[in-house]
């Protein structure tokens, strides 16, 4: 698995499958015709460097370039190549930038190249790399600039995140220089660590104004809708191609993204593909830096996140404002920006947890709707009673229809749970039996096929519909005929609505999966090894821990996602190794069962003291059914982690308290209804299977 060697040309690691031991990228590059180089650069979507064909021997032909002797190639950018050169007349070393396509550059490219020179030449600032001369030699356009001895910030970053003070100092200086550029009407538009050089005096200097835009300049070299720049540092307005919104605040965003990376070691957004990154830049909220690395000062996090606001007006209005703020931080003075308010945080949280938000919203809406419906019915009944004083709440036709709907609800609940398991299994590519096992979520997601998707939507809607109808009938019967609300019915209603919505949720997740994929961080083989070892036993928790040890600064969510993906590749490589063991009593989750029983017993004891039950047998029936109901919630909720699962017991306990305290006659009624027992049976079934762990088969 360890890479065999390194490409001498581009320095990339070569994998084992490299053809003839040669770097595939360089091989392809060698096949591109030279004259098409400028086309590639013009049509490149993002950084067009890989696609552009620069003849590898350009330097050989122009070893002496006018007044300059070319010494070595320093860097290659989107459009140009930078050489270290010696200017013979002045006997000094300079950096010489030329268009990659050389004499074949299109007029557009030359215009953009000269624009860069113009943009930078107007800026005489100690922290901006100065331009000396712009010219043309034998058809090659070039400009010479200061040669900065040192590394770029990106290379410095490769050793890990910087200490917060140092990062703040760099960004403050860069922000001041950028403000200087803004005042002279130049936007940089491609700020990233690779475009900041750190000189021998440890001062940052900005370079590469290749995408710079002269403000108030009408001639647009970039067309509307065309995206240029580095996705990870690109402000949302630039990612969306809204060129009209690009202004000083856009560079402030890039400064924030840079600060973020200096602090945490990773850019705020980095998807598996450029497209995914752009999507995240526009839609997602960055993870709070302190979650990735706890020792970042809160003030610095506030400053950083303010720069990364989606709306330009919410950021610092100018780079100077950012520099001043960082200065305050460095001097230990209170900063002016306030941490995001609770509302703002809530909104941001909601954007990052659409699933939870959706669930809570749906629950709230459903409860509100039925609350209103209940009041409406109650009102109607009271009005009817006013009109006809003899009207009383006695059993009638609604009672009969409720009986039928109860049966339908019970059926819907059963259909709901089994279709949920079936669809979930399909979504993870599991057999029915595998999908019952505890480790089901560790299997990779795969796209649903058309029939399963249709089935899932249909079953989900029908099951939810039945649950809703039963609730409507229950409320009507309760209001008009004084019918008791039985725990069995509530169970049918809750379960069928919940399981039906969960089935629909899988379809939504499938849609998101197919459209956006997942983001990733590249790990080295050595980093992966301990995680892989932990995964051999399918121990997700241990593997997650190993990941966070291997990658300092990784958040729990990121670690968990990575581990799940690793499980995916492990399973793809060694199919058949990971199978659930047969069900047995020994593998049951006794701990959870014990804790659940204890909580129920305490509740029952308290209840017994407060409201003595009508009959001990009914109390025992209540205990048993709500115990199993609680266990079922724990087991079937798809929630990971013992404490989170136990939290789910709260509704079960509440149901028991309510049914005992508020509906004292329920005990007698429920002894005639099969609901609690059916529910208890189902819940017990899921408890059994949830106790089973996936183990690695001995090979």
């Amino acid at each position: 698995m360890t890479p065999a060697s390194v490409c001498p040309q581009c320095g990339k690691l070569l994998s084992n499958d490299a053809p003839q031991g040669l770097c595939p990228e360089c091989l392809l590059k060698a096949a591109l015709p030279r004259e098409s180089g400028h086309e590639a650069a013009a049509t490149g979507f993002f950084d067009p460097s890989p696609a552009a064909a620069i003849p590898p021997d350009a330097g050989a032909r122009v070893k002496y370039f006018g007044d300059y002797e070319l010494l070595e190639e320093i860097a290659r950018g989107g459009m140009g190549v930078v050489w270290k050169a010696r200017q013979s007349t002045l006997n000094r070393d300079v950096a010489l930038k030329m268009i990659r396509a050389g004499t074949l550059a299109s007029p557009d490219e030359v215009a953009r190249f000269l624009r860069e020179a113009e943009a930078a030449a107007n800026l005489q600032h100690p922290n901006i790399v100065a331009i000396h001369e712009v010219g043309e030699h034998q058809g090659h356009h070039y400009f010479s600039m200061d040669l900065v001895q040192g590394r770029d910030l990106g290379a410095l970053m490769a050793e890990g995140p910087l200490p917060p003070q140092r990062a703040a100092r760099y960004v403050k200086i860069i922000a001041e220089a950028i403000h200087f550029a803004h005042q002279r009407g130049t936007l940089h538009r491609d700020l990233k660590p690779q475009n900041v050089l750190i000189d021998a005096a440890d001062q940052p200097r900005i370079t590469d104004f290749g995408l710079a835009k002269i403000m108030k300049d009408e001639s647009q070299l970039t067309q509307p809708g065309v995206v240029m720049g580095s996705p990870s540092y690109m402000p949302p307005e630039q990612a969306a191609g809204r060129h009209g919104d690009i202004g000083p605040a856009s560079d402030v965003y890039s400064l924030g993204a840079m600060l973020y990376e200096l602090l945490t070691g990773q850019p705020p957004f980095r998807g598996a593909t450029a497209m995914a990154t752009l999507h995240d830049v526009m839609e997602a909220e960055p993870a709070a830096p302190r979650r990735l690395k706890a020792d970042i000062p809160p003030d610095l996090e506030t400053i950083c996140l303010k720069c990364l606001e989606k709306s330009p007006s919410a950021r610092y209005p100018t780079a100077r404002a950012l520099a001043e703020e960082l200065d305050r931080f460095l001097k230990g003075e209170p900063i002016q920006a306030r941490p995001a308010s609770a509302v703002r945080k809530g909104v941001s949280w909601a954007r990052r947890h659409p699933g939870t938000l959706g669930a809570v919203a749906v629950l709230a809406i459903v409860m509100l709707a039925f609350g209103i419906f209940y009041l409406f019915e109650e009102n109607a009944f009271l009005r009817a009673q006013q009109a006809d004083p003899t009207l009383a709440r006695v059993h009638g036709p609604l009672h009969e229809s409720l009986k039928i709907w109860s049966t339908v609800g019970a059926l819907a609940m059963c259909v709901g749970i089994f279709s949920l398991i079936a669809v979930r299994g399909r979504a993870h590519g599991l057999s029915f039996k595998q999908s019952l096992s505890k480790g089901w979520y560790a299997w990779p997601l795969q796209p649903l096929d058309e029939r399963t998707r249709t089935f899932a939507i249909g079953a989900g809607l029908v099951v939810v519909g039945c649950g809703v109808m039963l609730l409507v009938k229950t409320i009507q019967a309760h209001v008009w005929e004084g019918e008791f609300i039985r725990s069995g019915q509530m169970c049918f209603i809750c379960c069928s609505i919940y399981w039906g919505l969960a089935t629909l949720g899988i379809v939504i997740r499938d849609y998101r999966l197919v459209h956006y994929g997942t983001s990733s961080r590249q790990l080295t083989a050595e980093q992966i090894e301990p995680i892989r070892r932990a995964m051999e036993g399918y121990d997700v928790m241990a593997a997650t821990k190993r990941y966070r040890e291997a990658v300092p600064g990784a958040g729990a969510t990121e670690a968990h996602r990575y581990v799940i993906r690793l499980a995916d590749s492990l399973r793809a490589q060694h199919p058949g190794k990971f199978v659930p063991p047969p069900l047995s009593l020994a593998t049951l989750n006794w701990k959870v069962m014990g804790i659940c029983g204890l909580i129920e017993a305490v509740t029952l004891g308290v209840l017994w003291y407060v409201v003595p039950p009508s009959h001990p047998a009914s109390a025992i029936a209540q205990f048993a059914s709500s115990f199993l109901f609680g266990l079922g919630l724990i087991a079937g909720g798809g929630v990971k982690g013992v404490w989170k699962r136990l939290l789910l017991l709260v509704p079960a306990v509440a149901a028991m308290v309510l049914s005992e305290a508020l509906l004292p006659r329920l005990a007698e009624a429920s002894s005639h209804s099969p609901g609690p027992y059916l529910c208890g049976f189902l819940c017990g079934f899921f408890l059994m299977v949830s106790g089973v762990r996936v183990r690695r088969r001995k090979v």
Partner: protein, 252 residues
């Protein structure tokens, strides 16, 4: 040299490319559903070459190696019966895109039918060395590529591997195997970086001759790669664009 190499090439229909104006994929497309022996042979040749990326894609979706092998075989059988050629598709211009789109379509319909069904009865099968594919896949580093990207990456590697092999075979057949081994590094390196003096000494020729040999190797390599790429395109003029997009596949 080039002519000899082509005659010796073990790849089916390698000599067609020079002889016909049309490339393989455009030939297949033009024949459509009609019976056409040339087009059938061309399609078979294309499939023989590019089955591995498809297998890698299928393998990411299917847990069991045997299932994946069956599915791949079945897919090619269907392809040979030209089920998918009838489907109008804007992506047919490139064989690569057509294959992936058809495969996705095929897998979706296979999932619908269920995997258990017995396959391959009475249909023509290509002899694909599927076990070799499994071991090759085993060497793959654990990466986070999506199946689509894995497919594209494997496509590029397969293509390059094929071209390099052809090049090697050509040099072998003209008894210049050693020259190939020594000079193949020239394909990916800057000219001035290559130690020509040392290479020339190794090959017992003058430094200038070594330079020329390297340049010939580069030229021939470029020809072969462009020819191979053009075989998978409906419009031979799009070769540069295709190479560029293959390049982007690797860069991602």
């Amino acid at each position: 040299m080039g002519l000899m190499g082509e005659q010796c090439s073990h790849l089916p229909n390698a000599e067609d490319a020079g002889g016909f104006q049309t490339t393989h994929w455009s030939l297949v497309l033009r024949a459509g559903n009609r019976e056409d022996r040339d087009a059938d042979a061309a399609l078979a040749a294309l499939c023989q070459r590019y089955w591995f990326p498809l297998y890698a894609y299928v393998r990411r979706h299917v847990a069991d190696a045997h299932d994946a092998q069956d599915l791949t075989q079945e897919f090619f059988a269907r392809l040979m019966e030209k089920h998918y050629l009838a489907v109008a598709d804007p992506q047919r211009g490139k064989f690569r895109c057509f294959l992936l789109a058809s495969l996705k379509h095929f897998l979706a319909s296979e999932w619908k039918r269920g995997h258990a069904q017995k396959r391959g009865g009475g249909v023509r099968r290509l002899s694909l060395d599927l076990d070799c594919g499994e071991s090759r896949l085993g060497l793959e580093p654990a990466h986070d590529l999506t199946p689509e990207r894995l497919f594209e990456r494997q496509w590029v590697l397969t293509l390059l591997d094929m071209v390099m092999r052809r090049l090697q075979d050509e040099y072998k057949s003209s008894r210049k195997a050693q020259q190939f081994e020594q000079l193949k590094g020239a394909l990916t390196s800057d000219r001035q970086r290559l130690p020509y003096a040392a290479l020339a000494a190794e090959l017992k020729m003058s430094e200038d001759a070594a330079r020329q040999a390297a340049s010939r190797l580069r030229k021939r390599y470029r020809e072969l790669l462009r020819e191979e790429v053009s075989q998978t395109l409906a419009e031979p003029g799009d070769v540069d664009d295709e190479i560029r997009s293959l390049f982007e596949v690797l860069g991602r």
